[in-house]
Symmetry: C2
Subunit: 210 residues, 2 copies
């Protein structure tokens, strides 16, 4: 692409660095901003810079936060004795959007994946072990993706908890797996369908959740 302005070219190149944004989309976005009120463009740039520079990570659960302790951890209405372990911030947002969870979170910041070079030391696992021993929560709910990396991570954390000299009485659970609501049985994969038969649940608890 040939640009007659280096300012335009720079802006397009910066946008094209973002994931999933190609040169043509970048140009479309920049030309949109060029037609936008300068004050609004300033607000856009400010919001992005401030987000990067001022955002903090909660010292307790590692979720993004405006303060040292995030709004979920500092909310006295939430059940502090239930900790939901998730891979990243996106999962927190997804679970919060369901409005079905009133406990707190622990963001691992990734998942154990030797192939990608991610080991337990790069994740917030030690702080989690520490937190469990210190806060003595009632329950640890793992909400990780159902793949080999997720299973490995659960297994590792469980072993580490049991290996510590001080035994914990925390109940360890994972979110349920099965056929999605609205899903069609005939299109479900065999593993999910097979497991959903093994892990069948009483109709009463199913009905009461609807």
């Amino acid at each position: 692409m040939q640009f007659s302005s280096s300012l335009l070219e720079n802006a397009v190149n910066e946008f094209a660095r973002l994931p999933g944004i190609g040169k043509k989309t970048a140009l479309r976005l920049v030309l949109h901003l060029l037609k936008t009120d300068p004050a609004k463009v300033e607000a856009f740039g400010d919001a992005v810079s401030r987000m990067r520079n001022e955002i903090k990570f909660c010292q307790r659960c590692f979720n993004v936060s405006d303060a040292d302790i995030c709004s979920i951890c500092s909310n006295s209405l939430r059940r502090q004795e239930i900790i939901c372990v998730v891979e990243n911030i996106r999962d927190v947002i997804a679970i919060e959007s369901t409005q079905q969870f009133s406990g707190t979170y622990h963001v691992l910041g990734g998942i154990i994946s030797p192939l990608d070079g991610v080991g337990p030391d790069q994740l917030n696992i030690d702080p989690l072990i520490h937190r469990v021993h210190k806060e003595k929560p009632q329950e640890l709910i793992f909400a990780l993706n159902p793949n080999i990396q997720g299973d490995t991570t659960i297994y590792y954390i469980q072993k580490k908890l049991n290996a510590s000299p001080e035994p914990t009485t925390v109940r360890i659970t994972t979110i349920s797996r099965g056929i999605a609501f609205g899903g069609e049985l005939e299109y479900a994969d065999e593993l999910t369908l097979g497991r959903s038969l093994q892990n069948r649940m009483p109709v009463e608890s199913y009905m009461s959740n609807r």
Copy 2:
């Protein structure tokens, strides 16, 4: 979507204001920036702000420019006596990318479209008439989209040129319309195929262009 940080929420909302970017894509982009080196995020914000605040429009052709006269107009290697009339900056970039045009441009900044409330007065038509009378170019090439608005705009400019007291000798042309290279005849629309038969060209000139 529920966010635990207002900084994150602001940044996501700003991105989601861009055309074709929804909340989920905005979140993906912002979380990417959150993992990016702060200096690079600063560079991103700067490039956008500077583009909006410092970009100029060429006083001669109304293309985007870093200076009062754009790099195309001030380039002595380009044929200043040939003016290609386009709707917007995107068309300039598209034509420049072909590397087949060595003349200059005139950006109308839109197209006459009464339904959208765009009349000739909102476009850079008067400056074009003025430019033609002043510079006395050899040729005016219209590269507008082949629809009723494009045709109306060409017709209006042509009339206006002829209506001025001082007659012009400028040659007025439009880019050729026809079957696209690589296009299949059977899938071409009837209008294009019919016109391409009417406006057939000598094989020699076709071959020499390949």
